[in-house]
């Protein structure tokens, strides 16, 4: 599904440069649910951004579903992001002047899907996250958990191969966090491959595999027994 080989990335800081990723090797299979952990500055977000094609690696290989991802033009990256990836952000990143259903339908708009079909698909996904009744509401009228569920529906809308989540529960209270995790787990149960960055142990333990980063290298990569989130809800 996803294969990364000797990935390096550094950022220029004034005259010197900061070596953030120092040779990452990672491979993720279909249906996995991986938590990437590490303290801030460990390079976990950078790794997620490169996997998400929002950022480019300096050297190294990245193959997604058999497709080598390198030297992408912005246009091609945009198309790949749209086709292969679904993003879930810590701060939801909903467009504030669009209502829930319009937000969910946005990736489909960039796929060039007709309006009617878009609305139908968006409705389907909103129903899936249990927010069909809130379809016409603006983000500011929704609670944090609801916003994140809309964002998840949006990430799912384009039916991506890989779901990328950057601290998906970072802005939510514990109870809501577990609700969201329960939902993400159910998506994984249906076969979605999920990659998430988190620094919370309990959240990480709800995944099936934990990759720990420190100072740009992988310190530990182990499979864990998944803690089901439903029991806390």
């Amino acid at each position: 599904m996803l294969k990364i080989n000797q990935l390096h990335k550094s950022y220029p800081i004034g005259d010197s440069s900061l070596h953030v990723l120092k040779g990452i090797d990672l491979s993720v299979d279909q249906g996995e649910m991986v938590a990437i952990m590490g303290s801030s500055g460990s390079g976990k977000s950078t790794l997620l951004n490169i996997i998400g094609m929002l950022d480019e690696a300096d050297t190294g290989d990245y193959i997604l579903d058999g497709l080598p991802i390198n030297n992408l033009t912005e246009k091609k990256a945009a198309v790949y992001r749209n086709k292969f990836l679904g993003f879930i952000f810590q701060s939801f990143n909903l467009i504030n002047y669009k209502n829930a259903i319009e937000n969910v339908a946005l990736p489909l708009y960039y796929q060039g899907i007709k309006r009617k079909e878009r609305v139908e698909k968006a409705k389907f996904h909103l129903e899936k996250v249990g927010l069909l009744d809130w379809a016409e509401h603006l983000p500011k009228e929704l609670s944090g958990g609801q916003k994140q569920r809309v964002a998840i529906a949006r990430a799912l809308a384009a039916n991506p191969k890989l779901l990328l989540a950057d601290e998906p529960t970072g802005a939510l209270d514990t109870k809501t966090s577990y609700e969201i995790m329960a939902f993400i787990q159910s998506l994984n149960d249906e076969g979605k491959t999920i990659l998430m960055v988190t620094h919370e142990e309990d959240i990480a333990n709800m995944c099936k595999r934990i990759v720990r980063l420190r100072d740009g290298v992988i310190m530990e990569d182990k499979k864990v027994t998944q803690v089901r989130a439903e029991q806390y809800v």
């Binding site: 912005e74 246009k75 992001r81 990143n93 960039y110 384009a158």
Partner: protein, 417 residues
């Protein structure tokens, strides 16, 4: 290209545009006011300048602008045995010589004038009476309401006919009385009224209330070949100032006046005076264009500026859209379409309200014969060129924030709080 045209006809495009504009009302309104104001000012200014120009043109339309008046004064230098202080009296000989010898002369019109009592039955008044040739009509077009002006036969036969000014007619005749064919007494001699005219807005030299044939005048007042003054007009292309000098030199020669005696001949050069006015008009037109175009450019920069601020505001949104799969082209296209749409709509509003302003100006200042602004208007071609320039600049300016929006990596855009 075809994609872009298709894009323009898609409901989604306009939905996006509508969302973005209606959710950012203040920004949209401020931008539109900027453009609207620019176009409005341009049209208002250009229209007023045109109206003023038309008004001047109408004023001068009955008047040979390329003309000079020359009359005799007292000499200030002794010459050829003559004492200084001699009164120079111009004669028909002078006018003939000028007509024949000065290059560039179109017409030379001799005139004589006096004040006299004119009586009609019980009504009478003191009027200025001029002896004129038909030629006067060529240099100072008479607006005849009834009848005709003096003709060549009148001159040859020294007929006792008179062409009177409208106000004089009103003083001498009962209201609505038929004057043509009727008689008035000038200097106790019966003159037949052959024409009534309306005085023009502008004239140089003394005002005249009545015109009688030149020859009749000379005989009646015993003037011989001496004239009051002359009007010389120049052919197009000849400098009227040079012509004036040439004519004066010739007159000095003919009348034994010292060549450097600058007081012996009086003159008024209409060409010179009018050149000042037209120069002023040209200056004003230039100013109008300058201000108008500067206003337009300011308007366009205002749009660019506001779009730029908006892009900064919307950086995160643009980052999200790109994460969701919007290509840089799609982002740019949306921003440019927004810029063009806003300028176009505001520009059209500006044209419409500019038109209203001109209608209002015309209503307030454009009525009647004394109107300050005559037919204040702007050619539709100029308006559309202005609009096209505005829209082009608007889209170019729109490109700046669009490029800025897509040049930052989506990841940086997303990080921005």
């Amino acid at each position: 290209m075809i994609d872009t045209i298709k894009f323009l006809f898609e409901r989604d495009t306009w939905q996006e545009l509508y969302d973005s504009m209606s959710k950012n009302k203040l920004r949209t309104i401020v931008t539109m006011i900027g453009v609207w104001w620019g176009i409005l000012l341009l049209i208002g200014l250009l229209g007023s300048a045109k109206g003023m120009e038309n008004s001047f043109n109408r004023l001068f339309s009955n008047f040979a602008t390329n003309s000079v008046f020359i009359w005799g004064n007292n000499t200030s230098k002794p010459f050829k045995g003559f004492q200084e202080g001699r009164w120079v009296r111009l004669s028909l000989n002078d006018t003939d010589k000028i007509r024949d010898n000065v290059p560039g002369v179109e017409f030379v019109v001799p005139r004589s004038q006096t004040q006299g009592l004119v009586t009609k039955n019980l009504l009478s008044g003191n009027f200025s009476i001029a002896g004129d040739y038909p030629l006067l009509d060529k240099v100072e077009k008479k607006k005849l309401i009834h009848g005709r002006f003096i003709n060549q036969t009148d001159i040859e036969e020294k007929r006792k006919v008179v062409v009177i000014e409208e106000d004089a007619y009103k003083q001498l005749f009962e209201k609505d009385a038929e004057a043509i064919g009727d008689y008035v007494l000038i200097n106790n001699i019966n003159f037949k009224v052959v024409g009534i005219y309306k005085s023009s807005n502008i004239s140089m030299g003394p005002t005249t209330d009545m015109h009688i044939p030149f020859t009749t005048f000379q005989a009646m007042y015993n003037r011989g070949d001496k004239i009051g003054w002359m009007i010389i007009t120049g052919k197009t292309g000849y400098d009227i100032v040079q012509l004036e000098e040439d004519a004066k030199l010739l007159i000095k020669n003919l009348n034994s006046i010292h060549p450097e005696d600058n007081r012996a001949l009086g003159s008024a050069n209409a060409g010179k005076e009018i050149a000042k006015v037209t120069g002023f008009l040209k200056g004003m037109q230039f100013l109008t264009w300058f201000v108008g175009i500067a206003t337009l450019i300011a308007g366009v920069f205002a749009i660019g500026n506001i779009l730029l601020i908006t892009v900064k505001e919307r950086t995160k949104e643009i980052g999200v859209r790109r994460a969701l799969g919007a290509t840089p082209f799609e982002i740019k296209r949306q921003i440019v379409v927004e810029a063009v749409f806003i300028t176009l709509v505001a520009g059209l509003f500006g044209i419409i309200s500019g038109g209203w302003i001109l209608i209002l100006l015309d209503y307030k200042y454009g009525q009647g014969a004394e109107a300050v602004l005559v037919n204040a208007s702007v050619s539709i071609a100029i308006v559309f060129v202005a609009l096209i320039i505005l829209v082009t600049l608007g889209s170019l300016i729109g490109l700046i924030p669009a490029f800025k929006a897509t040049s930052i990596k989506p990841i940086e855009a997303l990080r921005e709080e």
